[in-house]
């Protein structure tokens, strides 16, 4: 349906000349009006200030300058709690759940139903179930511990937590970054309902196709300044990208297949318990293989086995060079160290818990994968280290004050770039990338793609897991599809279509007669979901 403008605009929230300084200004002179019943998309490059602006609205961060008006009254929330009293709520970019508590307890964390302090479990679970039902999570037992949920389901719980009846303003900061198409669909249905109730919604995302589907207006931030606000209807994607980055971004959808070189890595019958079942695959020099599949289909598990992050319990991995077998390991690698020594790298899916040393600097995080290269006799060579970190950080356009900035203070997308930079620092022959562009903006994505191209040109083999089918179709030479732990199909460039990929993704589940997984909308959110 695109963005059909909602009729008479009643301003709910007005921002005027909002600014925020950390060491340097990160937001400056932002003025915006948010109307009842509209979805305002907020977009812009990584580190443009989207999350910061959202946090200011929701009381998490005090603005350095400027005022806000909520329903005509001055609005100066001092905490998230304070903002929520006024019906201003936020789904944060980073998960904020308590992993040792149950889903129900997380949903009602600050208002557990109780009698004199004793929790009323029946009531707790009933309320939680109602809230989960709202976003289509019927099957989840509210008593399940959050630590047992997948990352996508956790995100849904986080969203469910903020769907309160009294909400006037709802800010969603990259809510779909970890969701599959189906979950995204449910979220959009919910957003439509909220809109109809007159809730004003701020929607932060890098997925431009989503914005087409959901947003009424779009606001673009660049370097902390608002560069454009306009109606979504009729806006072409290229135009939007141009606004965001201030430059042309190459979109090579119709690229030709790269010339594949010799096989570098083969996996035969590799598997681990039920998560990955006897997968065979080959990675060739100079090409990018994609891995598509639903959440929990085992893609992450598979790349972790190929990297030795988990130990396989069957199968073998073989490395080749110049047509010769150079190394063969039964039951996979013993450890990541062994795999890395053999020339394999992995950009992990969860950058916070598995990728980064958050309190440490960009420099330290970048050089971590190969300390040998920046040391002599065990002593670090600081100048050399700084040089390398500086070069990579500039190359990937990491937005930071300097390379000594702790990565914990970087924006999400820039953190992702630092993880990627690490594997540019350490030369590897085979690079495994698990959702490498999650939370990365269009411009930076293009930079990253260009970097991947350079790597394939240099004869490296790449394996890329992504939930974004468009990205896979744009980048890959072959796409493997996983379903319920099996690699069910491998498509060559030119042979695939969105439909065929999705059909494969659902095939195994369907084959085993799982009623949950058959008859749903098989598509990316951008195209097929439209009612």
């Amino acid at each position: 349906m695109g963005g059909v403008a909602v009729s008479p605009a009643t301003p709910v929230l007005t921002l005027s000349t909002i600014g925020k300084d950390y060491a340097a200004p990160v937001l400056d002179d932002v003025s915006l009006v948010l109307n009842a019943g509209e979805v305002l998309a907020l977009t812009g490059e990584n580190g443009a200030g989207k999350s910061t602006l959202s946090k200011i609205v929701c009381g998490l961060v005090p603005p350095t300058r400027g005022q806000m008006l909520l329903g005509g009254q001055a609005f100066r929330p001092t905490s998230r709690r304070d903002a929520e009293r006024f019906g201003v709520r936020m789904v944060m970019q980073e998960l904020g759940l308590v992993s040792t508590l149950s889903v129900a307890e997380n949903l009602l964390l600050d208002r557990l139903p109780n009698r004199a302090g004793w929790i009323d479990r029946a009531e707790l679970h009933a309320q939680a179930a109602r809230q989960l039902a709202k976003i289509g999570m019927h099957g989840i037992d509210p008593a399940t511990k959050v630590s047992r949920l997948g990352i996508g389901q956790q995100q849904m719980v986080e969203i469910a937590r903020n769907l309160q009846d009294d909400t006037r303003v709802l800010v969603l900061d990259e809510p779909t970054a970890m969701l599959t198409p189906r979950e995204t669909t449910h979220l959009f249905e919910q957003i439509d309902l909220l809109k109809a109730r007159g809730v004003a919604i701020v929607y932060v995302s890098h997925r431009l196709e989503e914005l087409q589907r959901i947003a009424d207006r779009v606001a673009v931030l660049r370097d902390g300044r608002l560069v454009d606000v306009r109606a979504m209807a009729g806006l072409r994607e290229e135009e939007l990208v141009q606004r965001m980055v201030g430059r042309e971004v190459l979109q090579d959808e119709g690229r030709a297949r790269r010339v594949a070189g010799p096989v570098l890595l083969t996996a035969r019958g590799i598997g681990r318990a039920q998560a990955v079942r006897d997968v065979n695959l080959e990675l060739r020099a100079g090409e990018v293989m994609g891995l598509a599949g639903l959440v929990g289909s085992g893609r992450t598990e598979l790349v972790r086995l190929l990297f030795g992050a988990d130990r396989a319990d069957r199968g073998e991995i073989t490395l080749h060079a110049n047509g010769q077998v150079t190394q063969q390991v039964r039951k996979g690698w013993r450890s990541p160290m062994q795999a890395i020594r053999a020339g394999i790298g992995l950009v992990t899916e969860d950058r916070k818990s598995q990728g980064l040393l958050l309190p440490q600097s960009i420099r330290v995080n970048t050089t971590l994968s190969d300390l040998g290269a920046i040391s002599r006799g065990g002593w670090l060579q600081r100048a050399k280290e700084r040089g390398i970190a500086q070069r990579l950080s500039t190359l990937l356009r990491v937005r930071s004050r300097n390379i000594e900035q702790p990565v914990s203070t970087l924006s999400g997308g820039n953190q992702q770039k630092v993880v990627f930079a690490r594997w540019l620092h350490r030369e590897c022959k085979v690079l495994l990338l698990d959702e490498p562009t999650r939370g990365v903006d269009v411009g930076a994505r293009a930079d990253l793609y260009a970097e991947l191209d350079r790597m394939t040109d240099a004869g490296k083999a790449l394996l890329m897991v992504s939930s974004d089918l468009r990205e896979l179709m744009a980048m890959c030479d072959r796409i493997g599809v996983m379903s319920a732990g099996r690699l069910v199909a491998v498509f060559e460039r030119g042979q695939w279509s969105e439909q065929s990929l999705l059909a494969a993704a659902f095939s195994d589940a369907a084959g085993r007669g799982d009623p949950h997984l058959t008859s749903t909308t098989l598509s990316t959110p951008a195209t097929a979901v439209t009612p």
Binding site: G96, S99, T100, L109, I119, G139, I140, D141
Partner: protein, 334 residues
């Protein structure tokens, strides 16, 4: 279409009541095995170990340790630590004794004063560490020293003999079991319920797991932290009363070094020092293991070096067994 709405079949797992119970039993399996093994061993080494007398005397020895361990479990769950419990125990006992002997207060009033002393000490530890956001390790280490000094002052560095005025708490009751033991068991049960069934308990677990998330959810962690330390102080005070009831005296050196024993009991029970995870009932098993070990070694008359070496080994082995069992269960559970 609604059925399809749920991508992950979420394993339809409201664990049924009976399986939950089996699960619970499972959790105690590792520790129970260690305990039974130890009892069997000591039984085979000493003809009088497997007698009612032995178990009654063990039961009457543990209340002080158990009560402190209950508090310490909560403290460890919020990722804190309280090294001052031993000193607080001594000071509370000292104040009670002084109240009876010097200030001539009635016994119940004196006992209340002792408990209040514990409460105040705990509150100070909690408040100081919260106010300046200091690690509770260092604050409670400071308290360990300072409160011990206080105990010396109050007792004039001499054991104060109180007599049987307060011995009621330790007096044998049903079948030789003392009131203190019953009280300790009741406390364990209540504390476990509080931890799992109350708003406060859930907040404690939440703060230990992800304090920032709790804060963002609008729950102020600070008062909860302070309350946990205050309760631990109160329980250490109670332990002081229990101990002086047994000794009929207040010893200024009571409980020196006991903090490590208390923490060992809690950790043997599987509570994590990193916070967020713990169970009071499991802690009680840890207390039992330590108490049985101590009693058994004394009965068989082990030499000092072998006592030490065996104690060290048992602590580590108990944790290894429990950890391995836990891991097996986790793997099956997922």
């Amino acid at each position: 279409m609604n059925a399809a709405a749920n991508p992950v079949p979420a394993k339809s797992d409201a664990p049924s009541a009976s399986s939950a119970f089996r699960g619970q039993l499972g959790t105690y399996l590792g520790l129970t095995a260690v305990l039974v093994g130890m009892i069997a061993l000591f039984g085979s080494m000493s003809e009088y170990f497997l007698t009612r007398d032995t178990f009654v005397s063990i039961a009457n020895e543990i209340p002080a340790l158990a009560v402190m361990a209950v508090g310490m479990t909560f403290v460890l769950i919020i990722a804190g630590i309280d090294l001052s419990v031993g000193s607080v125990l001594a000071l509370s006992a000292a104040v009670t004794a002084a109240a009876i002997l010097q200030w001539k207060l009635a016994v119940p009033l004196a006992a209340l004063l002792g408990l209040a002393t514990g409460l105040v000490c705990g509150t100070v530890t909690g408040a100081v560490s919260v106010a300046w956001r200091l690690p509770s390790f260092i604050v409670s280490l400071g308290m360990l020293e300072a409160v011990r000094g206080g105990a010396y002052l109050v007792t004039d560095s001499r054991t104060q003999y109180v007599g049987d005025a307060i011995s009621g708490l330790a007096a044998p009751w049903i079948g030789g079991i003392s009131v203190a033991f019953v009280l300790a068991v009741v406390l364990v049960v209540v504390a476990q319920l509080v931890l799992t069934r109350t708003v406060f308990g859930r907040q404690v677990v939440g703060i230990g797991t992800n304090e920032e998330a709790m804060r963002l959810a609008g729950i102020d962690p600070r008062p909860i932290r302070i309350i946990v330390f205050a309760l631990t102080g109160l329980l250490a005070g109670l332990a002081g009363l229990m101990q002086s009831a047994r000794l009929e005296a207040a010893d200024p050196n009571a409980g020196v070094g006991i903090e490590l024993q208390v923490i060992a009991a809690v950790v043997i029970g599987g509570t994590s020092l990193m916070g967020g995870r713990g169970s009071v009932v499991n802690t009680f098993f840890g207390v039992l293991i330590i108490a049985v070990l101590e009693a058994g070694l004394a009965q068989v008359g082990a030499s000092e070096p072998s006592k030490r070496i065996i104690t060290g080994a048992v602590i580590v082995v108990a944790v290894i067994i429990d950890t391995l069992r836990q891991r097996r269960a986790d793997r099956k559970g997922l």
